[in-house]
């Protein structure tokens, strides 16, 4: 009986955090956000060297063959550092898609390149989590047509694309008829693009025919994204507590005011059970499959709520300084906001949770 991270996972956490402390300091994140310098590629190369890109790739394909909980550990570190990195898309969503639905040739072709950090695959799954207006992709004869809004990782080399039947396809960035239109949005640490397809050649992942692989990919994505929010929220609380201990008003550090203390206590009280839920949901996806989808929905919705509460409250504790760009606290605020809406907003995933149990 051991509910928690293993020694290896704690070590992984420390390693990633140390790397990010050194290489994804806020001033570097700002450069990425301002399009001033492509520190993103640099950070990803470093992370790949540490095995992050290879984390979920089977050993047979040059990977490490770890599990969702390990990925959650990494995501928590990334969220804590608001680090720009195509971890969720390339190392989690694409790898899961290939493992679940790719044929042997496809796996052999792409997984090793993901593992060594040389291939980035974005994810166009928004329509599988709620198609807006007329957006949507149709597939016929190895060609895609239509639009996918809100693809994650605008800078990827290839894209994992879900069509209207939830089949999964891989499209190369240079493919004929593919348009990649970056979308400006609040969280400058994660890039999003609209993809348009006009008879665009695509490779179907054959194991995705019944839509179940797409759902499984989204499950993992939701858990890992919740872990990212967890890391961001914990970091905001830490920053709030540190700031409150230094900031003086009325001749006292504001950390000594009961109102400020209670706000911080409420954040901690929201975060701790959320952490346990993230760990369990990650564990369940691999080890308790009958609970996996349900806990994936719940962790996504619950962390969206915890994250929103903490993002707001930590900003309030910082007072005016939290509202300015000076401390950059808003990078965390916006990352949490981004994670809330992508791969399914809270009302939607709660309804899915009800459906999984036959309640709706």
């Amino acid at each position: 009986m051991e509910f928690g991270l293993s020694e290896e996972q704690t070590l992984l956490q420390e390693t990633i955090n140390r790397f990010l402390d050194d290489n994804a300091k806020l001033d570097r994140v700002r450069k990425y956000a301002d399009d001033a310098e492509d520190v993103g590629a640099d950070i990803w190369a470093g992370l790949a060297e540490l095995g992050v890109a290879a984390l979920l790739v089977p050993e047979a394909h040059g990977g490490i063959g770890l599990k969702t909980l390990d990925a959650a550990v990494v995501a928590e570190c990334l969220g804590a550092h608001v680090a720009p990195a195509p971890f969720l898309t390339t190392a989690v969503l694409a790898v899961t898609a290939l493992r679940t639905a790719g044929d042997t040739a496809q796996q052999a072709q792409w997984l090793p390149r993901i593992a060594d950090g040389s291939l980035r695959i974005g994810a166009a799954l928004a329509e599988a989590c709620g198609a807006r207006g007329a957006a949507g992709v149709t597939a016929a004869n190895g060609k895609l047509a239509g639009t996918s809004l809100f693809a994650l990782d605008a800078d990827a080399d290839m894209f994992l694309v879900a069509d209207g039947e939830r089949r999964l396809h891989i499209v190369a960035r240079g493919a004929a008829g593919l348009g990649v239109n970056p979308l400006p949005h609040v969280d400058r640490t994660q890039r999003m693009a609209e993809l348009t397809f006009d008879s665009t050649p695509a490779e179907l992942l054959p194991g995705s025919a019944d839509g179940e692989a797409c759902r499984a990919v989204i499950d993992v994505g939701r858990v890992v994204q919740a872990a990212d929010t967890l890391g961001a929220a914990q970091n905001m609380l830490d920053q709030a507590v540190d700031y409150a201990k230094q900031r003086e008003q009325f001749n006292r550090v504001i950390a000594s005011f009961q109102a400020v203390k209670h706000l911080c206590a409420e954040m901690a009280a929201a975060i701790e059970p959320s952490r346990a839920l993230v760990w369990y949901a990650a564990h369940a996806l691999d080890e308790v499959p009958e609970e996996g989808r349900l806990t994936a929905c719940h962790v996504k919705a619950h962390l969206a709520e915890t994250g929103e509460f903490v993002a707001r409250t930590a900003t309030v504790v910082h007072g005016g300084m939290g509202f300015t760009d000076l401390l950059g606290l808003h990078y965390w605020f916006k990352r949490i906001g981004f994670n809330r809406q992508t791969l399914g907003g809270p009302e939607r995933v709660r309804e899915e949770a009800a459906r999984v149990q036959g309640f709706a």
Partner: protein
């Protein structure tokens, strides 16, 4: 992450299951502390190590090594079998551990065994009308007069006072010492002259608690645990344990499941509450919170197994679990509408009125055992390292 208990414990679980299967027919249906059937059952449980498990045999226990998982397995299996785990109450959960740690050898000999067997039923006398959150400001006094302590004052929230043979209580024996250092921990018989017990009805309209009044109550001076003025330390040796027990997530889970059943069986205008998407959305929020608290609890368990302190995960439990339960019970009332208001004996009353009862009772628990405000102080100060409020310039005490 490893949620299995391992083969040794699987075997132990089998043993427990066999015991339950074999002896279930002997288990008492109700808890009454004075019933011979309850006492016999308790004896049987102690014999087999399912009660008083880690209490040394010399004091009437089973004498096993402490083993958190075995303790948990016993709890799980008895709950699953819906079989009583024997006597409970503040004597067993609080006084016995206190005596084992800080009692004299004579006190251990005198009090532990009869407490375990149910011969001595105890109540706790800590809180006073003017000493709630600020427990250390208690005023009930004990003055040494010859060989006796003479007690005057009153206690409140003494849940089993009307049933108890004995009380363990905190009294002020050193009026001139700083407030935490002026308290002693005494044991006294409830039939001592000068004690008056008044039932204290609460908002559930049940006398869950009592007030106890002391007028010149004389207690032999050796009935003190620890030294004079050490009572605060003695009491705090086991206080933490009580706080944690308020947040059992498995109880929340079973309430949630019961609520799901209700939402699938009641009907309003021909549709089930479960078919109402706004209610369903609220249900799903609660389900996620209950899950999160269950896994938080596993995390605490895991830390205890490793001899570690779960830190914040532990400190937030009382706050979060009592608020969650209160809100969950209130949500069930919303689901049932007017049916949720019914309370008392009537065929229309759902689940014996337990939703209303628990809705109120858990509001009491939000307040009791350290209010949510005090909990937040503790979390921020001990958990997050934030400073205590600066000492106020206080007016002289009246």
């Amino acid at each position: 992450m490893d949620l299995s208990y391992g083969p040794e414990y699987d075997d132990f679980r089998q043993e427990v299951r066999s015991f339950i299967a074999k002896h279930k027919h002997l288990a008492p249906a109700q808890q009454g502390v004075r019933s011979p059937r309850v006492k016999e059952w308790q004896q049987l449980l102690i014999q087999h190590g399912y009660a008083a498990r880690t209490i040394p045999t010399e004091y009437g226990g089973y004498g096993a090594e402490p083993d958190i998982l075995k303790g948990r397995i016993i709890g799980e299996e008895f709950a699953a079998g819906q079989v009583s785990t024997g006597l409970s109450g503040q004597g067993i959960s609080m006084l016995v551990p206190t005596l084992l740690e800080l009692g004299s050898e004579a006190q251990k000999q005198e009090f532990i065994r009869p407490t375990l067997t149910g011969e001595f039923v105890w109540c706790q006398g800590y809180s006073e009308p003017n000493a709630g959150s600020d427990l250390a400001s208690l005023r009930t006094s004990a003055v040494l007069d010859g060989d006796d302590w003479v007690i005057n004052g009153s206690k409140i929230w003494t849940s089993t006072a009307h049933l108890a043979d004995w009380m363990f209580c905190l009294v002020r024996t050193e009026p001139d010492a700083p407030k935490h250092q002026g308290i002693s921990f005494l044991l006294l018989r409830m039939d001592t002259p000068g004690i008056e017990i008044r039932p204290l009805v609460d908002m559930t309209m049940q006398p869950n608690f009592n007030e106890v009044f002391f007028t010149d109550v004389r207690v032999p001076k050796e009935q003190i645990v620890g030294h004079r003025g050490e009572g605060w330390r003695v009491a705090n040796a086991v206080l933490g344990h009580e706080r944690e027990s308020l947040g059992d997530p498995n109880a929340s889970l079973s309430r949630l499941n019961r609520l799901i059943h209700l939402m699938q069986t009641e009907t309003v205008d021909g549709a089930r509450p479960m078919d109402n998407p706004a209610l369903r959305d609220r249900l799903m929020k609660f389900q996620a919170r209950v899950m999160a608290m269950r896994f938080n609890d596993l995390r605490i368990l895991s830390a205890r197994l490793n001899g570690a302190d779960a830190g914040l995960a532990r400190m937030i439990t009382k706050l979060q679990a009592t608020e969650l339960r209160h809100e969950l019970e209130g949500f069930a009332i919303d689901v049932m509408g007017e049916f949720g208001l019914l309370y008392g004996k009537h065929p229309h009353v759902r689940d014996q009125g337990s939703w209303q009862n628990q809705y109120m009772y858990f509001l009491g628990l939000i307040i009791g055992g350290g209010t949510s405000q005090i909990q937040k102080n503790i979390i921020s100060e001990r958990g997050l390292g934030m400073p205590r409020e600066p000492k106020a310039i206080v007016k002289a005490e009246a």
